[in-house]
């Protein structure tokens, strides 16, 4: 790597310099080839890991939505009021979907117990006893 290296005294300076230059060029060529092949390998690895075609094949809309999200984040839209609104809406819908079945179950149980209570009271009441039907 030392470019100030002196040529050997027993051979002409031009010949040694040319040979050295040729060797260096050869080495540079090899290094470039090696780097290129390694880059290509890495690129292939990344492509295999991402597997864009497979992903798109399996779930085209999901992949596009994910790409849209990546672009949105890259565009700096993550910490904005719009994100807050979208997240809030999603949470609200999710909560509603999760809570609604529980609520309907509870209401059904309450209605059932009320109905059972009313039926029991009617059964307890004697046929001639009108006072027992009145709410207390």
């Amino acid at each position: 790597m030392d470019s100030r290296e002196q040529p050997a005294p027993d051979r002409p300076a031009g010949e040694g310099g040319a040979r050295e230059m040729g060797e260096r060029l050869d080495q540079a060529g090899h290094s470039a080839e090696h780097a290129w092949s390694r880059t290509r390998e890495r690129f292939t690895d990344v492509r295999d890991t991402v597997d864009l075609r497979g992903r798109v094949e399996r779930n085209p809309y999901g992949t596009l939505a994910a790409a849209l999200g990546v672009g949105y984040v890259l565009g700096g839209g993550l910490f904005t009021p719009l994100t807050g609104r979208i997240v809030g809406l999603g949470l609200r819908i999710g909560l509603r979907l999760a809570v609604l079945p529980l609520l309907t179950d509870e209401i059904a149980t309450i209605a059932e117990s009320l109905r059972d209570g009313a039926t029991g009271r009617r059964r307890e009441a004697a046929p001639g006893d009108t006072e027992s039907d009145k709410p207390t």
Partner: protein, 64 residues
């Protein structure tokens, strides 16, 4: 009784009139979905890059 019968008849008529339109719309939407899906599958890189660009623009607009 007569009114109930009339209402039922009207509902049936409306149903018969609307059903083909609904079927047609369903068929068109299904065909459109197929076309879009095929296009995405044929050009995955272009579509993904386009989606990223669109998201980027939306993010920029939201940031303002």
């Amino acid at each position: 009784m007569e009114i109930a019968h009339e209402i039922e008849e009207t509902a049936r008529e409306i149903g018969a009139r609307v059903r083909p339109q609904i079927e047609n719309a369903k068929r068109r939407i299904s065909s459109m979905n197929e076309q879009v899906t095929d296009y995405i599958k044929e050009n995955p890189g272009k579509c993904v890059l386009g989606a990223i660009a669109l998201g980027f623009v939306i993010g920029k607009i939201a940031r303002r």
